[in-house]
Symmetry: C2
Subunit: 233 residues, 2 copies
């Protein structure tokens, strides 16, 4: 069943769907009296009934349940790719597989590409609906990586990079089942030595994602999936 | 260093690069006397020297080594997605992370989309160069899934699907480190019950990729990455 996204949901409420939602309802050949599922991205799953005809279409919320939050909590810090499509692709796949927060980072080797956070948020909503999830990940606007490094993260902190001089375990071997994590993925030119040094000084653990040379968005995705596999029960 | 792909490489040989390669050589600002790395996708890594000027550019192969094949061997059988971009994306990412053979399958619920195998092969070559690998995965033209099921695969055989009636372990828990595997991923509408039944009769093990509802190409990618993580040493 298709899952509709609506940012504010209240039991008993009547909602006028927007033009996109109306198109979707028609494409699904739904009619007056049919049930639809809705989420607000804050863990609520509502059931609504369609009322009215093509011109007066509305959804009446009949019941609402709260789904348990997905635990543990994963934050990915990632440097936006030069090609925006690759970043969008990362957001789509990360939401499908499971991520809670995506922080965009400006790094020493970033080319400061234009990032359209609104577009990334729309991608995240589509992926949320597709994968039938009820918690919409936060996507934060780009900030200097050094600031993000020094935030007091209440989680295990990992920085993935390719510098050979630091000994690096595989991320797979240092994630703990059930423990929150924040994983940082660098730009096309990797984190600078200074960034890695400052991260390690601030308690971040350098990790390897494997022996393959991965593009930024692929590295981000393998980090999300490694976390997901660690917590599969 | 950029890795050039050339299907046939012999030590001592002189190669006239094609127009695309010449553009690439110029973009990298390489000049007469510079070294370039080349692979034929059959495990050979060659070092060549650029000779000549812009108009008479050629590469002379100076040395060649054979890299050990990546083991174990992973075959992914996947139903092409309706949207060709999603299939191309899968090929790119699967090659980056590591796959040996991709077989395209026509399934009961496939919409028989047009598949451009030549285009997929070009994507695979680009990903091979990007990820500095020396073995180009084979990409086979679409065949009926039932035929592929009954091939005598010398590997552990897994079929990933969402039918609730068969008990399914997680793929993560049934892959064996060092063992070859073939993993089948169904179309947007999943494998049919008949396909799952026939696969199980033919010795395939039904598996789950996790609790998320994944798109076909995402499912394919998580299968490749689960195999990669199992074999990370």
């Amino acid at each position: 069943m298709h899952l509709f996204f609506l940012p504010h949901l209240r039991n008993g409420e009547t909602i006028i769907p927007d033009a996109g939602q109306v198109r979707h309802i028609r494409a699904l050949r739904l009619q007056e009296g049919d049930e639809v599922s809705l989420t607000d991205g804050h863990g609520h799953l509502a059931t609504g009934i369609l009322e009215g005809d093509r011109k007066t279409l509305r959804i009446v919320i009949r019941s609402m349940v709260t789904s348990a939050p997905q635990v543990p909590f994963l934050t990915v810090i990632i440097a936006p790719t030069k090609n925006h499509d690759r970043l969008e692709w990362f957001v789509e796949k990360a939401v499908e597989i499971g991520v809670h927060r995506i922080c965009l980072a400006e790094c020493d080797n970033s080319e400061r590409p234009v990032v359209r956070v609104d577009r990334l948020q729309r991608m995240a909503i589509t992926a949320l609906q597709q994968s039938q999830r009820y918690y919409l990940p936060e996507i934060e606007t780009p900030r200097p990586f050094i600031e993000l490094l020094e935030k007091p993260w209440p989680a295990a902190k990992f920085i993935a990079h390719c510098h050979p001089e630091s000994t690096k375990p595989f991320l797979r071997d240092v994630l703990t089942r059930g423990a929150d994590a924040v994983i940082a993925i660098g730009p096309e030119g990797d984190f600078s030595r200074d960034e890695v040094y400052r991260a390690e000084q601030a308690g971040w653990l350098s990790v390897s994602l494997g022996k393959s040379r991965l593009r930024t968005e692929t590295a981000g995705l393998t980090a999300v999936h490694t976390f997901e596999l660690t917590n599969q029960v």
